[in-house]
């Protein structure tokens, strides 16, 4: 599965510009699903199986998009000013590289910093694409770019890359689609757009799919780094079953059901309480008359930086957990 992860994380797909990633996913899943559609916001929706007795229509969602930048102005010397697409953190930017949709590469620089103790804001930064003038610059206002960083396996199980958020969810979902042989459920796999800019893709996809149960697959914060955020989740301790985040309280019945599935499989899981951020599951939960929703999270360090780090065993176990969950009736008691 590492080759698949590498392929997905190295593709560029900032929010609103997910075409390249969508094409990759489409090619990987086409033989394994019954029907594929691309909706008005660009989300890829794949149907697999039909509802058998005891089954439900289940929407599963992983988002295609990643955080990135968008050019706001090109000055007369060819420097590109930009603003973030999604929650980019300015302290992760300086010295970084970006790649625009047309293939142009650039490095992020900043104006002279008066105070090195203070992180400069985006308004003090620019992208140097090697141009000498505005006319010479291959980037125009409105061009979107993503961070440019190779996939690397730090050790056998620890993987680092940009856009693990949420290509790891995309990779897990693709692998689940391939491995699932039979299910009593009508499964609708959504590869959503624009999650990083307020869950836009999942919002409309959930309305169209009209599911009875919703599950998102996304990364969550890991609390296991030196003097880091206080959180119980850690790399390598298994998929995290979301109890709540800043936008959603998971349906407690679904949480119990997920924990029971993990226990049957004998795989480790963790319970997740995330105090900032949310996932596609929130959009599913509040669509139409309401949908019981939950989320399988992969713990990840340095989220929203160009080097997000996670554990490969957590990824493998997330696939196992989802195959087990989706392959059986989901009876919420």
């Amino acid at each position: 599965m590492k080759a698949l992860i590498k392929k997905f994380v190295e593709a560029a797909g900032p929010s609103g510009f997910e075409n390249a990633v969508r094409d990759l996913v489409k090619a990987e899943i086409a033989p394994y699903v019954d029907r594929i559609e691309v909706d008005a916001l660009g989300s890829l929706i794949a149907w697999k199986g039909s509802r058998q007795p005891g089954g439900k229509r289940v929407m599963i969602s992983a988002h295609l998009d990643e955080i990135g930048v968008i050019a706001t102005h090109v000055d007369q010397n060819g420097f590109v000013r930009f603003t973030p697409l999604g929650a980019v953190r300015p302290h992760t930017c300086l010295g970084g590289r970006v790649i625009f949709q047309n293939g142009t590469r650039g490095v992020i620089g900043s104006e002279r910093l008066e105070d090195l103790a203070r992180t400069p804001g985006f308004e003090q930064m620019f992208i140097d694409v090697g141009a000498a003038s505005r006319e010479d610059c291959p980037v125009r206002t409105g061009d979107a770019g993503s961070f440019d960083r190779d996939f690397v396996a730090l050790s056998e199980n620890r993987l680092a890359a940009k856009a693990m958020d949420d290509r790891i969810g995309v990779a897990v979902q693709v692998e689940v689609i391939r491995q699932l042989k039979a299910s009593p459920n009508e499964l609708v796999f959504v590869f959503s757009t624009q999650e990083e800019v307020m869950l836009r893709g999942a919002t409309t996809a959930a309305y169209a799919v009209d599911p009875e149960i919703g599950i998102s697959i996304d990364v969550t914060v890991s609390g296991d780094t030196p003097r880091g955020i206080k959180m119980e989740t850690a790399l390598g301790k298994g998929p995290a079953i979301k109890v709540r985040d800043a936008g959603m309280i998971s349906d407690p019945r679904l949480v119990r059901h997920m924990c029971a599935a993990a226990e049957r499989l004998g795989i480790p899981v963790q319970l997740e309480i995330l105090e900032g951020g949310t996932t596609d599951a929130r959009a599913i939960q509040t669509t139409r008359a309401g949908v019981p929703a939950g989320c399988v999270s992969i713990p990840c360090r340095y989220i929203h930086s160009p080097s997000e780090v996670l554990d490969y065993q957590d990824v493998i176990n997330s696939v196992k957990l989802l195959v087990e969950l989706l392959g059986h009736p989901i009876d919420l008691q």
Partner: protein, 354 residues
């Protein structure tokens, strides 16, 4: 009111935190059972009660919403047998130390919220109300027993009993939800003696204190023509006396602002004046802070009215409300509904509003 008073007191002894409303929904369902024609539970757990109107079919529908979820705490980690917690909803951490709570682990455990000694806290916390991340919940059990009985994600609810103070004031935890649900129930009781033309859907919503998930979803299938939302608002008192606070015992507050349909507001105001019922106008400049904010934008959009019950010490375990204000709020809603003609919507057109 005694019937309703007993019901209210029962609500105030129950847990029912946002996202985990089962215990309180059961009790409300029991109470509404005899007052409505039909009861349903939404996919997210909101309770929907239908009291059919007497007008010719197809009848228009009015939705009465009160949230049934309460604020509280949730376990985030366990350290040496003591629990670290995060808030569910807008808990005010200043009043937490010394508060009795129940930890809903594998079984319910009595516990207290405790603060470490002031001189052992980091300098940023010393001499001030301690922020939530430094507070602890102590069950008295050994680390091993706690490990067996409690896990991350378990709920912690306030364990204080409601008290009837003198002067018709009731105090307790989660009056925020209790007062509003009691007002809607009072309205249902009053409607038993009336013959409203409209169908009335009473909805006890889930998750108002966190995500408004109930308000965003319940109206989708019910598709009411209008929604009336009851919630609590800040009561005046020493230290809370500016324009954002309202006198207790002066009846419901009538909300006004972008979240509220101006013509429906006007009809409520006119009716309150006709009935000689005390009330005041509460400006709500943006987000009303109530379910109306969610309901207003469901589907094609739903005209909303907000009624506020003044409450002291919001989001603490000693919230206080005047019983008379609850009764008057319920009664005003019932009078309003009973007077709604079948063509009421034609009379409250947006373009005719002042």
């Amino acid at each position: 009111m005694t019937e309703n008073q007993d019901f209210l007191k029962r609500l105030l002894t129950l847990p029912g935190l946002s996202g985990f409303e089962d215990p309180v929904r059961k009790v409300i369902a029991e109470e509404w059972q005899t007052l409505v024609d039909e009861l349903k539970v939404s996919p997210l757990g909101s309770l929907h009660g239908l009291k059919r109107g007497y007008g010719p079919e197809p009848r228009p529908r009015v939705l009465l919403a009160a949230h049934m979820d309460a604020i509280g705490l949730m376990v985030t980690s366990i350290q040496e047998g003591l629990l670290r917690v995060t808030a569910i909803g807008g808990v005010d951490p200043r009043i937490l130390p010394g508060t009795p709570v129940t930890v809903h682990g594998r079984r319910d455990l009595p516990a207290w919220v405790a603060a470490p000694p002031d001189h052992l806290l980091p300098p940023s916390q010393a001499g001030k109300p301690v922020s939530l991340e430094y507070l602890l919940v102590d069950t008295g059990l050994s680390a091993q027993e706690v490990a067996e009985l409690v896990r991350v994600g378990d709920l912690v609810s306030f364990n204080t009993q409601p008290v009837e103070l003198s002067g018709g004031v009731i105090a307790g935890h989660s009056l925020d939800k209790g007062a509003s649900v009691a007002a809607v129930t009072e309205c249902l009781r009053t409607l038993q003696q009336m013959k409203p033309g409209w169908d009335v859907w009473t909805v006890a919503t889930v998750q108002e204190e966190i995500t408004m998930a109930g308000a965003l979803t319940s109206p989708f299938d019910l598709r009411p023509q209008i929604a009336i939302v009851v919630d609590v608002t800040f009561a005046k008192g020493p230290g809370a006396s500016d324009y954002r606070a309202f006198e207790m015992d002066k009846g419901p507050m009538l909300g006004v602002g972008p979240n509220i349909h101006p013509a429906i507001f006007q009809s409520f105001k006119t009716l309150a004046e006709e009935l000689d019922l005390p009330c005041a106008v509460e400006p709500m400049p943006a987000h009303s802070g109530t379910d109306a904010f969610g309901i207003q934008v469901v589907a094609e959009g739903i005209p909303c009215m907000v009624l506020g019950i003044p409450l002291r010490y919001m989001h603490t375990p000693v919230e206080a409300v005047m019983l008379k204000d609850i009764r008057r709020t319920g009664w005003l809603m019932a009078q309003f509904i009973a007077r709604m003609e079948m063509n009421f919507m034609e009379k409250v057109r947006m373009e005719d509003a002042e």
